[in-house]
């Protein structure tokens, strides 16, 4: 597609000539590389609380970020005004990082080969408000109807449509249109005047609005949120100490995100501050484990046609049969480490400097029957769902909290427990994986990953797996 037909060409009259001249300005004081990231972001959020649509918000954000790299140095500036004077000013500020003659020979742009992982004709953000508000109303009705013990329901719907244009001094020109939508339902349930328990469920992706009609309906999320809250009503306090842990399929893949994913981001490894630094080729997990990060899965929340540096995303094998194979690279770390970008350069917005990030991170399916995994466990904890997690990438220690878990006794799932927290060490935890199920499942599309103050949407997934020992932080 010629630039003149693209969003920024059409709406703001930006030409290749303009882009070249801004990049020249950015490299005016020297430097190895410069890029421009134009972003137009339209967002909506609708929420219902006490069966009242109390909040409805729309917003528009527009700007351009200019980056100059000189050796290991990065200069960055941005403008929320796309006038040529303001963009040039930002370029000159970013240029302050460099000194000396530029090492870049400009030879024009080559447009990145286009593909469409989210062929959404009408983005949710472009659908009628009435249609979208109906989603939260339906979720509210379904959750209230599902169980009389439910006494509070909040449902929220969020969507965004991001238009991006990336132009780089090494000749990349790429544009993308990135729709994203998410519906979530939170409920509180209690018996009489007893202690309330909460339940949450949500999902979405880079999808059209009919996803919430054809695939995952408001009623689906509402019933799931209610089910989780009701399970908690009868839950006992979680046990404390080391034990066998079985993770259910889907969202518990957040374990991989925390335990290995962050530690494999190349910026940490370039600086040798990760527990995984210098360990390529080493056994860091049981031979049953193969972990990939794949930004190319259609319509997934973590997927991107191109990353935020204009590089196509790809499938990256992180751990193959337990052996550490590779890191996730952005352009800066790949230049400095003599590797290639893995399409992992992401940023929250035009106001942020890109860095290596995950997309959709999951473990490939194994051979075991999930029921057999539970039957083979004399005593342990079964985690069906998680809240969030966090990792210290330097020591490798991570935690994540189970939002739905059960005791396993004599090979059977017995009673629900609440408040379980799992903790372990990244390069060690997966060495104790003794069984991997054939039931790989990806999460429903609610993940948000935070790193150095920047949030980006991600996906996770995992089959049922058994970890022979892990520390569970409960109270009993």
């Amino acid at each position: 597609m010629p630039l003149s037909d693209s969003f920024f060409g059409h709406k703001f009259g930006i030409t290749e000539h303009d882009l070249e001249s801004y990049l020249s300005e950015a490299l005016g004081a020297g430097g190895d590389y410069a890029d421009l990231y134009f972003e137009y972001l339209a967002t909506s959020s609708l929420s219902i609380d006490e069966s009242i649509v109390k909040s409805a918000v729309q917003g528009v954000s527009l700007g351009v970020g200019v980056r100059v790299i000189s050796g290991e140095r990065t200069g960055y500036a941005y403008s929320d005004d796309l006038s040529p004077e303001k963009i040039r000013k930002a370029a000159r500020v970013a240029a302050c990082i460099a000194s000396g003659p530029s090492k870049v020979d400009k030879t024009g742009f080559e447009e990145v080969r286009r593909r469409d992982l989210y062929p959404v004709v009408t983005a949710p953000n472009e659908a009628s408000l009435a249609e979208r508000v109906e989603l939260v109303k339906r979720a509210d009705r379904a959750a209230r109807a599902a169980d009389p013990r439910v006494f509070q329901v909040q449902a929220s719907y969020l969507d965004s449509l991001r238009q991006v244009l990336v132009a780089t001094s090494d000749g990349v020109l790429s544009t993308d249109r990135q729709p994203l939508a998410r519906l979530g339902v939170a409920v509180l349930a209690r018996v009489g005047n007893g202690v309330p328990q909460r339940g949450y469920s949500g999902g979405g992706g880079r999808v059209a609005l009919d996803f919430f009609e054809m695939e995952k309906t408001p009623e689906h999320f509402a019933r799931e949120a209610v089910r989780q809250a009701i399970v908690q009503l009868d839950a006992a306090p979680a046990p404390a100490g080391e034990m066998t842990v079985v993770l259910g399929p889907g969202w518990p893949g957040v374990l991989l995100h925390e335990a290995v994913g962050h530690g494999l981001e190349a910026d940490f490894n370039r600086k040798k501050v990760s527990a995984f630094s210098d360990r390529i080729g080493q056994q860091v997990a049981s031979p049953l484990c193969t972990v990939v990060d794949d930004g190319t899965i259609r319509n997934r929340r973590g997927s991107l046609n191109v990353d935020d540096e204009g590089a196509p995303t790809q499938e990256n094998v992180l751990i193959e049969k337990g052996v550490l194979r590779g890191y996730l690279y952005d352009k800066l770390s790949s230049r400095l480490l003599g590797s290639r970008t893995t399409g992992s350069g992401r940023r929250e917005s035009y106001q942020h400097i890109p860095m290596p990030r995950m997309t959709n991170t999951f473990m490939l399916a194994g051979d075991s029957d999930p029921e057999e995994i539970i039957r083979s466990t004399p005593r342990g904890l079964y985690c069906a769902n998680f809240g969030g997690g966090q990792v210290d990438i330097t020591s490798g220690n991570f935690v994540f909290s189970a939002s739905e878990s059960y005791l396993i006794e004599d090979g059977h799932i017995t009673r629900a427990v609440r408040g379980a927290m799992l903790t372990g060490n990244g390069p060690e935890a997966l060495k104790h994986v003794s069984m991997v199920g054939h039931d790989l499942k990806l999460d429903e599309g609610i993940g948000i990953c935070g790193k150095e103050g920047q949030s980006v949407p991600v996906g996770v997934g995992i089959p049922t797996i058994k970890i022979e020992r892990m520390t569970v932080g409960g109270t009993t």
Partner: protein
């Protein structure tokens, strides 16, 4: 520069286009940061942005919009968008603005803005970051690496106007220095950090002090081990105690109270903590980070005693949650630039006690001194508390060895009742603060 007139004009435009009430917020800011690593400049960022937001009421229906396009076309589009959203929302009997008698601003210089953050040029700012990192790197031979050090500065302003006659604005500044060294000893690699944050450059701690504290905090983590699963006393250092105080805020803010989503709901006037616990919210303390002349609905900031020697005295409310609960706003409305206001805090802190932290540690036979908490295992609805922790093990009143890869668990209800002492070391490094806290007993999960 801050434009009060633009906010007032936007409110008038919304009323002209059919809103019965409107409130407009304008925010602008300029950020600078210099990040160095291993004695070299690594990142330099320098930029500014502005944003305007509008919330309108049509009767009892509410809509909100925001934009970074401050042109008249951009503002018109935002106004139309907010009105269209109000039309699809549902009547909310409690939707309103604060009563005009509640609006206002506190007088006097709150020392939120200082010109001196602009006093130094880029080279001097980079130098400050380099000195901070150098202080950490040279502190101990085991500090072999670094995730860097940074200097950052921010200045900005906020304007608020509504259709009940309020218009106000204020400017803010801040600057900070931080360092994140990495230490190694055998197979053990650890990182930690330290920082100083102030509204004025003159109040910032020196690069040498920040770097040294960061180094000390990092080196003392080396060689950490797990401890056996057990129940034992736990001392929270001021950094981790702060996060615990943050949990108390979540449990007393109006939204979770009216939704009955807090373990402190319905407990006003009751004993909820030991008598060592007095928690205050004060938005009026000059020069601090939780201070402002008025909240994000135009209600003056104030001091509220939340817990008085263990007894719950007040929730923290904006005008909406106050109407829901049949109470008065406490001047705690908070939002970005748009949407219904949520509830925020001013300077939210636990009052200091008598005992120096060293003495609290000396009084422990066997227990845990927590310096880091990770993860999200706090349930405000039930009070269940379980978090990943790292720190130092105490034997016979002295630090014996570092510990990590453990969790600590209890319920917030029990932890509050079990606060045996608050230290004498209260410091504000942000808008939430606590002295060192000693909790009688928690479950520690390890081996």
């Amino acid at each position: 520069m801050i434009d009060q007139e633009l906010a007032a004009q936007t409110v008038r435009l919304a009323l002209d286009r059919g809103a019965t009430d409107a409130e407009c917020t304008l925010a602008e800011g300029e950020e600078f940061s210099a990040q160095v690593r291993m004695r070299e400049l690594e990142k330099l960022k320098d930029a500014g942005s502005r944003r305007v937001g509008l919330r309108v009421l049509i009767g009892k229906q509410v809509g909100s919009a925001h934009t970074s396009d401050l042109s008249s076309a951009g503002i018109r589009q935002m106004v139309e968008s907010a009105l269209a959203l109000a039309a699809i929302s549902t009547d909310d009997p409690h939707a309103d603005l604060p009563d005009s008698s509640e609006l206002g601003s506190i007088a006097g210089d709150l020392r939120l803005y200082s010109d001196d953050i602009h006093k130094f040029d880029t080279a001097a700012r980079i130098q400050a970051a380099i000195q901070t990192e150098e202080a950490a790197l040279s502190w101990d031979p085991r500090i072999t690496n670094s995730e860097g050090a940074s200097f950052s500065a921010y200045s900005g302003g906020r304007v608020f106007a509504n259709s009940r006659g309020f218009a106000g604005s204020y400017r803010m500044s801040s600057c900070s220095l931080s360092a994140t060294p990495v230490a190694r000893q055998g197979d053990s690699m650890e990182r930690d950090y330290w920082y100083s944050l102030a509204r004025s450059y003159s109040k910032l701690e020196s690069p040498a002090d920040v770097g040294r504290r960061a180094a000390e905090r990092t080196v003392r983590r080396l060689g950490a081990r797990k401890v056996p699963t057990q129940k034992a006393p736990v001392i929270f250092d001021p950094v981790t105690a702060r996060s615990l105080i943050g949990n108390i805020f979540e449990a007393v803010e109006g939204d979770s109270i009216y939704r009955k989503a807090s373990f402190l709901e319905g407990k006003l006037g009751e004993r909820v903590a030991s008598e060592n616990v007095t928690v205050i919210d004060d938005g009026c303390l000059p020069g601090l980070f939780g201070t402002s002349p008025f909240d994000d609905e135009g209600v003056p900031s104030r001091r509220t005693v939340v817990i008085d020697r263990g007894v719950l005295r007040s929730y923290l409310l904006n005008s909406y949650t106050a109407r829901k609960l049949g109470m008065r706003t406490t001047g705690n409305a908070a939002r970005g630039v748009t949407g219904n206001a949520g509830v925020g805090h001013g300077n939210f802190f636990l009052e200091k006690g008598q005992r120096p932290p060293e003495e609290m540690i000396r009084g422990i036979h066997r227990g845990l001194y927590v310096t880091e908490l990770i993860g999200h295992g706090v349930n405000i609805v039930t009070g269940d508390y379980s978090r990943g922790a790292a720190g130092l093990w105490i034997e016979n009143g002295e630090f014996a060895y570092p510990v990590s890869e453990i969790t600590i668990a209890a319920t917030l209800q029990q932890m509050l009742m079990d606060v045996e002492a608050a230290g004498s070391d209260l410091e504000f490094r942000g808008s939430v603060a606590s002295p060192t806290l000693l909790i009688r007993e928690m479950t520690i999960s390890g081996q």
